[in-house]
């Protein structure tokens, strides 16, 4: 038992910090701090910068472009990125499809797709959720019907994040309606978003921002080379593979640490009617303390998971991280808006000029209200808190 980072780890952190702080463009950093959804341009640019450094996907195996860092080092890297207000890279290629491809993809698929994911040349979206398949992926209704040596896909996907940025989709579809979805009835297909038959309808979320979409798939033709892994019926296995990993990432500790740091600075600038900085008010101090303590525990829970090495995440612990991490994100976003007083009522729309904000509002007001509203989704997306509790009851207690 050694409950400290090694000096090698600390040296590593310094190295990463030195690079990252210089590498993030100032205007990109400002946009990240404002808490709005990252623009496609920022995603592409930051991805390219990291790619050129060889750091776009540290968590990947080295042979596919990863860095060979330990899980703890990857965590330190993510923390430094967050501390430097770098945006998160697009999730769907680097976090979801990439690992699927290098684990299950055919050599041709790996050859064709992986490098472009790594470089940010190709953006992907995840076609899993549907109108009647939210928490319950087994209820997917999108069909892929055999047609010659290929398939024809029809259906409707919902809550598709970044579908409007994406060049391609990896799409879960029913390939066999005679067997259970869990028993070989589902398959993941890879195809272009930019083709006739794919229609993307923006869905604004409560923040009035555009990050998710409805995607209509109308007679999309795919060939045998577009079947993930080359074998029909593996969709359920592939989908499950993604889940644990997603939940650990969803703890979002580095981002929340940075957000809380910013929040405290704002609490020093905002004042009550007596001119006292909000940070000096006992109730505000106690709320901040509570969040700090909750976040500290979450961070050490993540460290405990990571210290065990790659990919061996315990399902109930990962679910717990997701529950707590999402609540902390909500708490921070809400407290920030509370600190802003009535200025926190203004919705933004224009992130560069924020000309629809109160005239006296400082820079940090820009995305605050919007982010608070969007963060309601944190306990919903990637498995609701209720779903996570069910996983814990089942996996930890067999209930």
């Amino acid at each position: 038992m050694d409950l400290r980072f090694t000096s090698e780890d600390e040296a590593f952190r310094e190295e990463v910090r030195a690079f990252v702080r210089k590498a993030v463009p100032a205007d990109m950093a400002r946009r990240t701090r404002q808490g709005l959804h990252t623009t496609k341009e920022d995603l592409k640019l930051w991805n390219r910068i990291l790619y050129e450094k060889g750091w776009a996907a540290p968590h990947w195996p080295k042979e596919f472009g990863g860095t060979g860092w330990s899980a703890l080092q990857i965590y330190l890297f993510e923390e430094e990125c967050a501390a430097a207000d770098a945006p998160f890279l697009s999730y769907f290629g680097l976090r979801l499809l990439g690992p699927l491809l290098y684990t299950f993809g055919t050599p041709e698929q790996q050859e064709k797709y992986i490098e472009d994911i790594l470089s940010g040349e190709t953006f992907w979206c995840q076609g899993f959720s549907e109108p009647s398949a939210g928490s319950d992926l087994a209820a997917v209704k999108t069909t892929a019907v055999r047609d010659g040596d290929g398939w024809v896909i029809n259906g409707q996907k919902l809550w598709t994040t970044e579908a409007h940025y994406a060049d391609k989709m990896f799409c879960l579809a029913r390939t066999d309606t005679t067997v259970k979805p869990q028993k070989g009835g589902l398959t993941i297909f890879l195809f272009d978003m930019n083709q006739p038959g794919v229609t993307v309808r923006p869905i604004l979320t409560l923040d009035e921002e555009h990050s998710v979409n409805e995607v209509f798939l109308d007679n999309i033709r795919v060939g045998p080379e577009d079947v993930l892994g080359g074998e029909i019926g593996q969709g359920w296995t592939h989908a499950k593979f993604l889940l644990g990993n997603e939940r650990v990432t969803n703890a979002q500790v580095p981002r929340s640490k940075r957000d809380l740091e910013i929040l405290k600075k704002i609490a020093l600038m905002e004042r009550d009617s007596d001119g006292v900085p909000m940070l000096q008010k006992p109730d505000i101090r106690q709320r901040i303390a509570q969040i700090e303590i909750d976040l500290a525990g979450l961070e050490w829970s993540v460290l405990r998971e990571l210290a065990q090495g790659h990919g061996e995440h315990s399902a109930p612990i990962a679910s717990g991280l997701k529950i707590v991490g999402s609540e902390i994100q909500q708490d921070i976003a809400t407290l920030l808006v509370d600190l802003l007083g009535i200025k926190g009522l203004a919705v933004h729309t224009d992130r560069e000029q924020a000309n629809d904000l109160p005239a006296d509002a400082p820079d940090y007001v820009v995305g605050a209200a919007a982010r608070q509203l969007f963060m309601r989704a944190a306990t919903i997306y990637a498995g609701t808190s209720e779903i996570q509790r069910g996983i814990i009851a089942k996996q930890a207690f067999g209930l």
Binding site: G134, L204, D283, I342, V347
Partner: protein
Amino acid sequence: MDFSLTDEQKLLRETVSRYVASGYDFQAMRGKPVDDPLNVSQWRTFAELGWLALTVPEQDGGLGASLEDVALFFEEIGRGLVCAPLLSTLLSAIIVSKAAESPTRTEALEALMGGEKKIALALEEAGSRHDPAVLTTRAAQNGSAAITLNGRKIVVQDGAGADGFLVSAQMPSKDGKAGVGILLVPANIEGVEIRRYRLIDGRDAADIGFENVKLASESLIVPPAEGLSVLQDTLNRASILLAAEALGAMEAAISITADYLRTRQQFRRPLSDFQVLTHRLSDMFVKAEHARSMVYRGLSAMNGPQEGRDKAVSATMIAIMQAGDFVCGNAVQLHGGVGMADENKIGHFYKRLRTIGKSYGDFNWHMDRYTRQLTA
């Protein structure tokens, strides 16, 4: 003690619920500029229904409704998620009616009742944080000559489309003591600069600058000796009415969520088969009942002695905000992804509650006010 409604109260509520049921479309109305034909015609209807006359005294041709009546009215407004500058208008009428008889007073009340003009409350400033006594806007007057106004107000709710503002300003009273006067300032006169924007609940607001704005002495609606107590009373009324609106919104959100649980299928069962979801709904019910009781209690206190009102109103608002966060937050949660779509109504109850929680006093402000008055 009698919690049952009079026939008049029932009727008043019915005019609202009937209006909402007969095709009121929240999604069509939110974010619409005040001069949009839909808004213009809606406002005309409100005037015809008598809603805009509710708080105008009977001797001025209004309905002189009691605070209870208006609260019941706002409960239905909340239930229907009606997006309109009703609160500003009804509060403005209360303040204006306190002015001494004058053509300005008469015109303003007529215009408010008739729906021809809208007046918004310009009280908050960058440093005020809901305290009406903390302000830097100043009005100067030489004897009974014209008044000069300088200052800046922020987040004036319903301010983007208002024809005039009731502006609080520091000014000495006749005996030379410091005071806070309330002035009626037209939106379109020289020196008034309006910066318009939207709030999260789909309504509008404005920051308003006043630079050497010249006003007739009649514009002084409430003299500096009385301004602060009028403002404090107005803020308490505003809070209670918002609380009532919040209550209606919560109950609507619960009812919509119950329907959703009954119909939405996941894992081949209706959501209502999942005990954690139905028990959450039960907790939402309990919180809303608590909120309802606290609205009644607040109303009761507003009819009681002056010294108990501030504390009771803050208690009501604290309860409303906590219940509202829980009820409307969970209404979104239980809707899952669907609840996060702005095109679905349920999230707007949440946004309205969030807005109410920062209007005329936020949680910290009410909790501070309450705990200051806590006694053993």
